[in-house]
């Protein structure tokens, strides 16, 4: 008779990627651009993921504990990749996701339209916006939980192939229009070009810096959320402001602010008030700028303050080692969900830690960290993040070099000048992170001291070891137990004799002689025996070798300055 039609509900494993990361994150001029680009991409990913949050679909990555975590503006940071087990036609589902992303983007855009007061080519901006989001996906049939690993391999392979064909449409540009200062690729939508309005007028109208041209996408990043983000200058100023104390700090700020009002109506953050160069940039006229500097110097003279703020801050770029291998080792979708949740937990902890160390997280999501930290807390923060990462992910394991390992963190800490263009600092950080990832055994850290007018100083070593040594070296500098010149002499020694056939022992002896000879104060103080012992111990091992140690000492001196300003007892630094 009639057959009983068996309804086999087809499940698919869906993996999606949202982009283009380049437009959202890489083309940033200010720290706020960078932070906002990352945040907006996360918000768009959340909007897409939310479509899959309810039954019968099941999100694998991200795996929020409650649907509310995917609401706009929630605390959860989501990476631009989504994986889920879905029921129904993947084409229909992904169309819904695309729609959700567009709606969220338009919500941001309406904020911009409300906020911008100047004349803008809104049609062109809208066109640029319509073209912005790239949403690629791949789906494979999902026969059930026992086949998760295989399905995941296939889905990832399909998505990787998909990314080999980068389709795009031709654009309708506008002749006679300058291009965006951020990416040089899109036309500027600001009708008030640099010629026709003053810098102050342009700032009020668009929040554009002097001479800056902004496309619709740039405007989106600048104006969609009226939230300030601490600049590199703010972070660099922190140790100094601790040194001043709250009373002196507010008094000085008031006086400087009053002075600034006489010269420009551009705004600047509190921290920036301690950097006359930064403030001077807001005053276009050369003679007035000179006058401003003179009056600025006078304020500090009358207050009896000689010391100026240090211009350096630290940029931290870190991510989990071998995350791909760790995920590949997961057998079921449940394990993957659990892993996703642990990563979100870590991200929340990391955000909190960075904040408690007076830093500013730019992007913390999944296993990625990008943050600013002031010099007097950067090392302590890195140490804590490393410990928290290992603790949070200790239940997962993968195989490397024949042994089972649990996930660890590697990264780079770049000490940069607050006025160095962000793109340069990021580039330095990325190169430094690569060096850290190349260290055998992983869990390594690269510290780069990138001062203006000098070569970069780099130290690379396993994270724990490097932080320990830095702690000791910073202590020595703070207590003046070794002189500043010692490091440079050791470097010189390495340069002259390091490549020669001189026996390692002879080299160590010469290094020791230098250590003993260089004492602080110029008096007849001998070097402390425990300090000499420590150096002997270091020289006795192939790692760290002389050149590396010299770099670490030079870098430590920079940190020591900040610790001194903020009056941090070296004993306070936790391991």
């Amino acid at each position: 008779m009639g057959e009983c039609a068996m309804q086999v509900i087809e499940k698919h494993l869906l993996v999606c990627a949202l982009g283009p990361v380049q437009d959202f994150i890489a083309t940033a001029r200010t720290s706020r651009d960078l932070w906002f680009g990352s945040w907006m991409l996360s918000e768009l990913s959340k909007a897409a993921a939310k479509c899959l949050a309810a039954e019968p679909n099941q999100l694998v990555f991200p795996a929020p504990r409650s649907v509310g975590d995917l609401d706009p503006g929630s605390d959860l940071s989501v990476a631009n990749k989504i994986a889920a087990v879905v029921e129904g036609d993947p084409q229909v589902i992904t169309d819904q996701m695309r729609q959700a992303v567009t709606e969220r983007l338009m919500a941001f855009w309406s904020e911009v339209r409300r906020a911008v007061t100047g004349a803008v080519d809104w049609d062109l901006a809208q066109e640029q916006l319509g073209d912005l989001v790239e949403f690629t996906w791949a789906s494979v049939p999902y026969p059930g939980a026992p086949h998760y690993r295989r399905a995941r391999s296939q889905a990832e392979a399909c998505l990787a192939s998909r990314k080999n064909t980068r389709g795009f449409r031709q654009t309708q540009g506008r002749a006679g229009t300058p291009k965006s200062s951020l990416d040089g690729a899109r036309e500027s939508v600001l009708v008030g070009h640099s010629g026709s309005m003053t810098s102050d007028q342009r700032f009020v109208a668009y929040h554009a810096e002097p001479g800056e041209e902004l496309s619709g996408i740039d405007l989106l990043k600048r104006r969609a959320k009226d939230q300030k983000f601490p600049s590199t200058t703010d972070i660099a100023a922190k140790p100094y402001r601790i040194m001043l104390g709250t009373g002196k700090d507010s008094c000085l700020l008031e006086r400087i602010d009053l002075l600034l009002r006489d010269y420009t109506c551009s705004q600047e953050t509190a921290g920036a008030h301690y950097y006359p160069e930064r403030l001077a940039q807001l005053i276009p006229d050369v003679d007035r700028r000179r006058k401003f500097r003179q009056e600025y110097a006078r304020i500090f003279k009358t207050e009896g303050i000689e010391r100026q703020a240090s211009p350096h801050y630290a940029l931290l770029l870190a991510d989990g080692d071998d995350m791909g291998r760790t995920i590949d080792a997961l057998q079921t979708s449940e394990q993957h969900r659990s892993f996703s949740q642990r990563l979100s937990e870590f991200a929340a902890i990391a955000n909190e830690r960075i904040g408690s160390h007076s830093g500013a997280p730019i992007y913390v999501g999944g296993d990625d960290i990008l943050a600013y930290l002031p010099l007097h807390t950067a090392l302590a923060c890195v140490s804590e993040l490393d410990a928290e990462f290992r603790a949070t992910l200790r239940d997962f394991a993968y195989q490397r070099d024949g042994a089972m390992r649990s996930p660890t963190l590697s990264g780079a800490l770049v000490i940069a000048h607050h006025l160095t263009p962000l793109s340069d600092v990021l580039e330095t950080a990325r190169g430094a992170e690569k060096k850290a990832k190349a260290v055998k055994g992983k869990n390594a850290l690269t510290i780069v001291l990138s001062k203006r007018g000098g070569a970069d100083r780099t130290a690379v070593a396993p994270l724990g070891e490097l932080l320990d040594r830095m702690r000791v070296l910073i202590g020595y500098r703070r207590q003046r137990l070794i002189s500043a010149g010692t490091a440079y002499e050791l470097e010189q020694l390495h340069r002259q004799l390091g490549g020669s056939e001189l026996q390692a022992k002879a080299l160590s002896k010469e290094a020791e002689r230098i250590i003993k000879r260089k004492y602080e104060g110029g008096g007849h103080q001998a070097i402390r025996p425990e300090v000499l012992e420590q150096f002997r111990a270091w020289f006795g091992h192939p790692e760290p070798h002389l050149a590396e140690l010299a770099q670490e000492m030079i870098i430590a001196a920079e940190f020591a300055g900040a610790y001194e300003m903020a009056d941090i007892d070296i004993g306070e630094v936790q391991g």
């Binding site: 949403f135 399909c158 064909t165 031709q170 540009g173 990416d183 001479g211 700028r289």
Partner: protein
């Protein structure tokens, strides 16, 4: 048509579209390699100069009709003649790090069928992938240019390297970039003027074969740009690119490589080919060519699959209208198109002749400017099922 060599004396700056004005902290950065439009402009400007170096504006329309092919990166010998032609690394070669130091392995990215029941947002389009799907890590130091020998072999017989090869045998490393900070000197005080610092980053046409700046000076290799044009030029010193950096123009006795007989024969007999873009192309359909598919009567050309990277943008300055040009998107050099050529062998021969190292952009003026120069390679027309291996858990 003569091949002209442009030998840089200074580091050259080929700016992207970012505005560069007299604002504090201004920077002029260079692209990694000049667009054809820059060289086309250089050729036409030079051709329109009289013996005193003055440009005749009345000539612009005539000059626009000159054809320029290139630019190509070339190695020069001590006498300034070409020793090697270099081409952008093809996008259908996935280069992964190999175990031994300084070695890599190339995997061929080719058209594949997805596993049964799988789908992507490309819909019915054919995807390209390494096969079996590779889990290797892309080599970050992979050369962006391959020498002609390497390209020749890849055009004739693409495929996975059976064993790792030395990275340096593929082609030149990255061109060195040189940064300078400039000041403006106040003539009265003879000191730097306030706030008028700017930075420029230019391309030095040298590579250091040992990498990391540790090689001997004698090992440094000198490069130049080569263009093939029908314009009448004079040798001599001139400016090219931003900041009026100097170059030397000299005629070459060599010509661009010809299509290898083996490749021609295979394409004609198999009825399929790959088109490898040697300079960026501009198509009305974005990444999909139009003119290319109908240029040769008697041949039906179909684009089966595409391996490419993200689009670039170009604008520039319109010398005739004296204003900024509108931005347009280009398919980057190195992109590879897998084509089927339906037609009789004679028509396919005509296709090969018409397309070998000629421009394939949609608009005629773009073709004259050298946008979208193409090399042809073989492809047997096969679309393979994508193989996904189970992970091996050994390290």
């Amino acid at each position: 048509m003569t091949v002209w060599l442009i030998q840089p004396r200074d580091p050259l700056i080929f700016r992207d579209g970012r505005p560069f004005s007299a604002m504090p902290g201004a920077r002029a950065r260079t692209l990694a390699f000049p667009y054809p439009s820059t060289l086309a402009g250089g050729v036409r400007t030079r051709a329109g100069q009289d013996s005193n170096g003055r440009f005749d504006k009345q000539q612009i329309d005539r000059l626009l009709r000159h054809t320029i092919r290139g630019p190509l990166l070339v190695s020069l010998d001590d006498y300034g003649e070409v020793t090697q032609w270099h081409f952008p690394a093809p996008a259908d070669a996935f280069v992964i790090e190999a175990a031994a130091q300084l070695t890599v392995q190339r995997l061929w990215v080719r058209p594949v069928y997805l596993p049964h029941g799988a789908a992507t947002d490309l819909g019915n389009g054919v995807l390209v992938s390494t096969n079996p799907a590779s889990r290797g890590k892309a080599d970050s130091a992979a050369p962006s240019f391959w020498s002609w020998e390497t390209v020749d072999a890849w055009l004739a017989e693409p495929g996975d390297d059976p064993a790792p090869v030395l990275r340096s045998t593929l082609g030149p490393g990255k061109l060195v970039r040189e940064s300078r900070i400039h000041v403006s000197i106040d003539p009265e005080t003879q000191t730097a003027s306030e706030g008028l610092l700017y930075e420029t980053t230019g391309l030095e046409f040298v590579t250091n074969p040992s990498g990391e700046g540790r090689g001997a000076l004698s090992a440094v290799q000198q490069y130049a740009l080569a263009v093939d044009t029908d314009a009448e030029l004079q040798p001599g010193v001139d400016f090219l690119g931003g900041e009026r950096r100097m170059v030397n123009w000299a005629a070459s006795r060599r010509s661009f490589p010809e299509c290898p007989q083996g490749v021609r024969h295979t394409i004609v007999s198999q009825g399929h080919c790959r088109v490898l873009l040697v300079t960026p192309a501009i198509f009305e359909g974005g990444h999909l060519p139009a003119w290319l598919t109908r240029a040769v009567p008697g041949v039906t050309v179909r684009v089966v699959a595409v391996a490419n990277r993200r689009y670039g943008t170009v604008s520039g300055w319109d010398a005739k209208r004296r204003t900024q040009k509108a931005t347009r998107r280009l398919v980057p050099a190195g992109s590879v198109y897998f084509l089927s050529l339906d037609g009789d062998p004679a028509a396919r021969e005509r296709f090969v002749d018409l397309m070998w190292l000629q421009a394939v952009s949609d608009e005629e003026q773009d073709r004259r400017d050298g946008l979208g120069m193409a090399l042809l390679g073989t492809w047997n027309g096969e679309i393979q099922p994508l193989e996904v291996e189970d992970e091996d858990t050994s390290s």
